[in-house]
């Protein structure tokens, strides 16, 4: 089984546009939305929800106020400034359990808290595993890992040997959790100073985890010079460069219509995304 992850470094470069179209073009696959912080893939795929389960990312401390002597030891030792005068700040608590360990009167307990939900849905392009992390919640990396495990299980069950995963922006814990163990990562970039800068950082993280990478520049004709600079940097950092996608207002129209662009139009962007899928399907890292 192979898993392709689509990430970007910078947000809003077109990850979901690309994955939504790949969903329409790839013959047999399971889809996963690993952007648990701001999931959007389901908006293009109109899923019917089959299963839903609560997700507990971390434990939360709670204080038995009757037993608490307000000695302040928990406050002194909490690295996250999450407990004071016997009151726990649920937003800051990372659930490490240090306070419960050090409390001299055992007044602190730890219990799992529900911080998100995981869904298995059916779409016209195949099964989709997606999730929603509650606003401000911790441990999104762990939820990403759960989404990927469910997607793998769904693929095994259906004897499907490809998983297409839509990733999140940035280079932090959700991206690290989505990169570990994938077969290949496609990075969708854009020819802007931010796109170039963030691409360099995300390629470093992918290299750190030994993941083969390829880069496609979206809206490339907005700035052809920067597109060339991005492709040069990609090659210098060991990535393969694939078909570019031109600026095309049809992409916005398709998004507004909540439809993958390859199903919406036969314009320039649509053609390029089809060519990009061909590149990806024959990419050594996935075959």
């Amino acid at each position: 089984m192979k898993e392709l992850l689509v990430i970007s470094g910078k947000g809003g470069t077109g990850k979901t546009t690309v994955v939504g179209s790949f969903a329409a073009l790839a013959p047999f696959k399971v889809l996963a939305d690993a952007d648990v912080d701001a999931p959007n893939l389901h908006l293009l795929l109109a899923p019917d929800q089959l299963e839903e389960s609560p997700y507990s990312g971390s434990d939360l401390a709670s204080v038995d106020r009757k037993a608490c002597t307000e000695c302040g030891r928990c406050t002194d030792l909490c690295e996250f400034e999450a407990i004071r005068n016997g009151v726990v700040d649920a937003r800051r608590c990372e659930g490490c359990g240090t306070c419960a360990l050090v409390c001299p009167v055992d007044a602190i307990g730890m219990a799992p808290q529900t911080t998100g939900r995981v869904y298995l849905s059916s779409t016209r392009f195949g099964p989709l595993v997606h999730a929603q992390l509650m606003a401000g919640a911790e441990a999104s990396g762990k939820l990403v890992t759960q989404v990927r495990q469910r997607a793998r299980a769904a693929a095994e069950q259906r004897h499907v040997d490809l998983i297409l995963t839509d990733g999140s922006p940035g280079i932090g814990c959700p991206v690290i959790a989505s990169l570990s163990g994938v077969d290949a990562a496609l990075i969708v970039s854009e020819p802007t100073p931010s796109g170039l800068h963030d691409l360099g950082r995300v390629l470093q993280v992918a290299a750190h985890f030994g993941v083969p990478t390829a880069v496609s520049v979206n809206k490339w004709d907005i700035n052809a010079d920067l597109t060339r600079a991005i492709e040069r940097l990609s090659i210098a950092l060991g990535a393969t460069t694939l078909t570019r996608i031109p600026f095309d207002p049809a992409v916005v129209d398709a998004t507004v219509a909540a439809t993958p662009v390859v199903e919406w139009a036969y314009g320039e962007a649509s053609k390029a995304v089809r060519a990009l899928w061909k590149d990806v399907a024959s990419w050594g890292a996935l075959t």
Binding site: K10, T16, E79, G172, I176, H208, V252, T255
Partner: protein
């Protein structure tokens, strides 16, 4: 007053708005709190005067004192420690730096050591104070970096924070210090979905919010309906125009390429001042 520029969805134009707003408001300081992918500097070419390293605690195990009892590994909920035979393995990528293992060890064999996760840079750009955080690639969480940035704010000047995308922990850390949250969205179903989440987060933090619709044009009304329903004003629209995208791709702040946005942003700032939490 402290205004956090946030979005839910990535790539909607937070940095465009934050940079132009900072350039339009006299004496404003700009804080780039997107430490995973800091971008504001690309539009401002700041002079950095000081770099403050940010580290987190990781355990250092003294193997001469260790009896390999395994209590540390048993305590650690993040699986950052493993005891195998006469070895203790530490996985810094998984460590949250809570320090609990130090207290769990009955032999006192674990002490604090530090792992650098990034830095905060202090400087100025075009007469404005500039602060930015940078997460080291491979380090997991920018929360501590954002917290360090906030410790360097000057509280007597207008402050604009360029927040990271999403609604998770680092965003919340950036929003927690603010008096007002300016949400930048784009008029698509993606933008609307993520705007709803960002409005929820602002409401949960009891933070007044306003909206900027970037790439405004063909699908504004669902966004405006949502804003009306939630009682969040639309303070500015930036149209969907290729020239604006091209100026951005050349690294030009919006207010340099299209000076009329200076007045528009100052008007938005005046509205924010009347609506902000005091």
């Amino acid at each position: 007053m402290i205004v956090a520029v946030a979005s839910g969805k990535g790539g909607t134009g937070k940095t465009t708005v934050a940079v132009s707003l900072a350039l339009s408001v006299p004496r404003a300081q700009l804080v780039d709190a997107d430490a995973e992918e800091p971008n504001a500097h690309l539009f401002l070419s700041p002079v950095i005067r000081k770099t403050v390293p940010v580290a987190m605690m990781v355990p250092d195990v003294d193997l001469r004192a260790c009896t390999f009892c395994g209590r540390c590994a048993e305590f650690c909920r993040f699986n950052a420690l493993a005891v195998v035979k006469e070895q203790v393995l530490v996985f810094p990528e998984l460590c949250h730096g809570c320090g609990g293992c130090i207290h769990a060890c009955p032999e006192g064999a674990i002490s604090r050591s530090e792992r650098r996760i990034g830095e905060v840079e202090l400087g100025e750009a075009r007469g404005h104070r500039f602060i930015q955080g940078r997460l080291k690639p491979g380090a997991p969480s920018a929360v501590r970096i954002v917290r360090e940035e906030m410790a360097h704010l000057h509280l007597d000047v207008p402050t604009i924070i360029d927040a990271p995308p999403g609604t998770a922990c680092a965003v919340q850390e950036a929003m927690a210090a603010a008096d007002f949250c300016l949400l930048v969205t784009e008029p698509t179903p993606f933008g609307l979905h993520d705007l709803r989440m960002a409005i929820d987060l602002a409401a949960e933090l009891d933070l007044p919010a306003g909206v900027v619709i970037n790439r405004s044009g063909r699908w504004d009304s669902p966004i405006e309906d949502e804003c009306r329903r939630r009682g969040v004003p639309v303070l500015l629209k930036i149209p969907f125009e290729r020239q604006i995208a091209e100026a951005y791709s050349r690294g030009e702040p919006l207010t340099d390429a299209f000076p009329e946005y200076g007045d528009k942003l100052r008007r938005a700032w005046a509205e924010i001042e009347t609506g902000a939490r005091v």
